[in-house]
Symmetry: C2
Subunit: 582 residues, 2 copies
């Protein structure tokens, strides 16, 4: 037996017990005649004591050879500490060691195994098995476990059935790029890894499974932006015989359940906002509601003077920063530079200071008098000491720019409390979006999303106006879930494919099986998928998903620990009838 | 709202309630003035009644247009049936329909949606979404769900953490063939899909995660034998600071928990048998203990006469079939032909009848007298009316042949009760097995399996004799799980790679990351993996795993429903720097 207890559980009422512990040497303090070793395992740290009077000398001699991260197994008795440590759960006791066995030695780790490590990210990724020994990383993985178990419990208790859908499926050029998998048994043919189990979950609805879920890996061969992974995990769900409202209620309750069970936080009823409102008020379809700074449109009171920049703009819009009059000239210059960077692309930043003496000062005050500026301030409900940041330009662009600025200001002012959670449903997404590059409409969600039934005929006359029964769940400015009511009528699905520019043959080749299925009694259905990595990261008070994945890949899609991807032998390639063109 | 109740829940105490139901039309019986429709959903079937006196005529008119598998939504009131049906949970009531809405129509399905369908397997696979509507298939998927939820509950309750390991890993030519995945971002390089998360779970032990599990898809590009799938699901588990005994206890309790919770069956303590015993007594390392027919070795009493077939055989061995004297000459001829087929390869089958009058009759009685035969019968503890089947030949071959015959006889005699469950631990597997083809030793389990510590030095002197701390869990003649204590010492791991013929470079390229990890304090550890598909199938009383997978592939690795694998465009291939050599 390697242990009678773990390193996190001994307490004062275990005094005098003979115990066996196993774990890693966290720290050694050797005072000559007395020696302490902090022994660590997944559950905590226990202090071991070796002393010349009470510990056999051969045990002490062996203890003197211990180094950091050695794996040991000890027998000893629990005694009371002289100086207790309130910060440790085991801080009242220590274990006087009578037997010691070294189970494995360790060379010096490349970084310290401490909460704040001295290792850089690249190094910690290469030695991820050491990184995971660190408390924060370990706790992230345990949090992830707790969340997934609670997801499963909630959904199972609500009659959802977890069904595994296949990983070796079929390539569909629509959407992001697929990873393909050559088939040796079917020469010249390829499977694809799923970007999501979308069509399979819809088939399960046709199959009568009614309430489905799955926590499942999905794959996208995208050029990786920071903090994207080629493989990621979804909580994938679908229901039949439901309206949008049923789905929102069910999954709002799921998220409330998770916060209750995992973080002991009671969330209030989630607000609901239309896509159009979100974009108009926050410049984004995923507004962070932990802070205010709602947009104020100034067209009617700012386009009435000689300032042609505003006069020629489709939209003049700003937001109020409470107490922002304390910004220095330099602060404002920095924000101005920030919005003028090519990633944002604004022409400049106007501001309106509501000074402590009640007067107004603005970057554009040579065009506007104090009463103009007072009108602006009133519209923004500004008070003394506030500042209004204003951008102008093309409506869609300026909203996006101002939305980005709003997030940037919140970052700088520390308004993003990681322990505050503000969920929001965004609904009524556009069905289609215009793609400048291809000069065609794309499905905003995916081609199976149902247009609002009363707007179906707009698809031909005014496609951009059509709204869909599609919704996102936003949490603290991140989209953590998204879904829709699906099309279940073959004719409407066909019309949708037409509208997206699929030829009949393409639609048949790629989605024929789904169209066929719709011939045999497809029920009304809809669903949602949550990005698990993101959800866990936010619940963990952090937005870097890599920190919540056991073995993540870097931004080139590489696993630097196992050194993958890698070359394969010519023989392997020959077997799958391929050769490289490099 | 589509429904107030599901189709399986209305009872006599719901009488007079107004209800809404949705589902599929299972059956229509139209008596003219009165009409019944069986409405089906995932939860059951409810009988609807339309009658000219009580149902609006427009509703009746619409009902007359219903066909099989139409999806409908009705409102009606619960009334008592005239003729009750005890076989249906809702058999006491029916619903008198006042409103009817057709949600979707259906063309005639290609096979009947009944427990016993008229559809052949190929057809049912092509229309799997209709096949799943059938009660037995649906129930298999629900059983699978229940089992996985209970696996997770048991393991979570026992402090195991579910950790997701990556799907895009690295190709290792050792073992079965990998599926590879070309990397577009790393031209000329490939990921591989995991055959199991073996190395990752070992790294998690090095990382201190201590008790890990995962229900995870694994992939093998093998030539598919009947009832193998290129993608399959494992319950993958690993523990640190444990002995083999700890692992056996933990997972025996898991399996007991599953049978208790899912099937309400209390399993006794599992017997334990060594690999050598299993092979000697049953001719296989996965004996089915639902029936006896243990082997009886006859060398000492059968190699003492003039019969050179036996005299020249390394082993003469048989098993007793109780009541088998009732076999006709023709029965025995059939068994003889069966063992002589090339798949079995025996030279012939000898028998010994213990006749009702107490005399002996044997196919070889010209070489043996009655007292010889009596000795055989006594050794086999035969009684009147039994028969002894006997094979002879090379020890290993004849045991395998006789083992196959034992299973075949049990099949014919109906001894495999699908509702009886006989688990067995098989332990002490050989570490290595000799591969005739390559003329080298292969790891019997995998290269990370620990030899028994006291036998380590035999690795050089007598490799075939070394036993491993490796174990299988066998259930009703199927291996449902297997695992081992792993090597955690870098030097022993290196020795193992040497013994398996890896060059230092190969070992480094493929498993360098694991060897490195062993430098930093690897704890003693071991684990087990269960084949979920097989476990669910056996618990479902069936041994065909395809029936327990939502969307299985056929024996050519094809998904005939979505028609995958399929060709991809030249453009797609070009992007990943590949071309086919076909």
């Amino acid at each position: 037996m390697y242990r009678s207890h773990n390193c996190g559980e001994l307490r004062i009422n275990d005094l005098n017990k003979e115990v066996k512990l196993s774990g890693w040497v966290q720290k050694v303090r050797d005072k000559g005649f007395i020696m302490w070793v902090d022994l660590r395992d997944r559950y905590g740290v226990t202090q071991l004591i070796f002393d010349q009077e009470r510990t056999p000398s051969n045990v002490i001699d062996l203890a003197k050879t211990l180094g950091r991260e050695f794996v040991i197994n000890i027998t000893g008795s629990v005694i009371e500490r002289n100086s207790k440590n309130d910060l440790m759960s085991t801080g009242d006791i220590e274990v006087l060691v009578s037997e010691l066995k070294i189970l494995n030695s360790s060379i010096t780790p490349p970084f310290t195994i401490e909460d704040e490590s001295d290792g850089g990210e690249e190094l910690r990724m290469k030695y991820r098995y050491l990184d995971i020994r660190r408390e924060p990383v370990k706790n992230n993985l345990i949090l992830r476990h707790k969340i997934t178990q609670q997801v499963r419990k909630y959904l199972s208790d609500n009659s959802f059935i977890e069904v595994e859908t296949p990983y070796l499926i079929k390539s569909t050029p629509e959407g992001a790029r697929d990873f393909v998998v050559p088939s040796r048994m079917n020469p010249g043919e390829f499977y694809a890894l799923p970007q999501s189990p979308q069509t399979f979950k819809q088939l399960l609805m046709v199959a009568g499974m009614d309430k489905y879920f799955q926590i499942v890996k999905c794959f996208r061969d995208e050029d990786l932006r920071a903090d994207r992974q080629p493989e990621f995990t979804q909580i994938d769900c679908e229901m039949a015989f439901v309206s949008q409202e049923d789905i929102l209620n069910t999954f709002e309750d799921l998220v409330k359940h998770l916060f209750q069970k995992v973080k002991n936080i009671q969330l209030d009823k989630f607000p609901v906002m239309t896509y159009d409102d979100a974009v108009q008020k926050y410049g984004t379809d995923k507004p962070d509601l932990r802070y205010d700074m709602k947009f104020v449109e100034l067209n009617d009171i700012a386009k009435n003077r000689e300032f042609n920049v505003f006069n020629n703009s489709e939209l003049v819009v700003g937001f109020l920063i409470e107490g922002g009059n304390s910004f220095t000239r330099k602060d404002i210059d920095k924000y101005t530079d920030w919005v003028k960077r090519p990633q944002i692309g604004a022409g400049g930043l106007a501001y309106l200071r509501i000074q402590e003496d009640g007067t107004y000062k603005s970057s554009v005050d040579k065009f506007y008098d104090q009463s103009d500026l007072e009108n602006w301030a009133n519209k923004a409900r500004a008070k003394q000491g506030d500042i209004l940041f204003i951008l102008s330009g093309d409506k869609d662009k300026v909203r996006t720019q101002l939305g980005a600025l709003r997030v940037h200001v919140a970052d700088n002012l520390g308004l993003k409390n990681p322990e505050e959670f503000k969920p929001l449903w965004v609904v009524d997404f556009p069905l289609l979006e215009w793609d400048e590059e291809t000069g065609a409409f794309h499905a905003m969600h995916h081609p199976f999303t149902s247009p609002k039934p009363e707007q179906i005929d707009l698809i031909d006359s005014d496609p951009a106006a059509v709204r869909a029964d599609a919704y996102d769940l936003v949490l603290n400015g991140n989209e953590i879930g998204g879904g829709s009511i699906r099309i279940h009528d073959k004719k409407i699905q066909q019309r949708m494919f037409d509208c997206l520019g699929f030829t009949k043959e393409e639609a048949e080749k790629q989605f024929g099986f789904l169209m066929n299925a719709f011939e045999y009694g497809a029920p009304p259905h809809g669903g949602i998928a949550f990005g698990l990595d993101r959800l866990v990261a936010i619940m963990g008070g952090n937005e870097i998903i890599r920190d919540f994945i056991a073995f993540p890949k870097n931004n080139s899609g590489r696993d630097v620990m196992i050194d993958s991807p890698s070359t394969v032998s010519d023989e392997q390639l020959k077997e799958i009838n391929l050769k490289t063109t490099l």
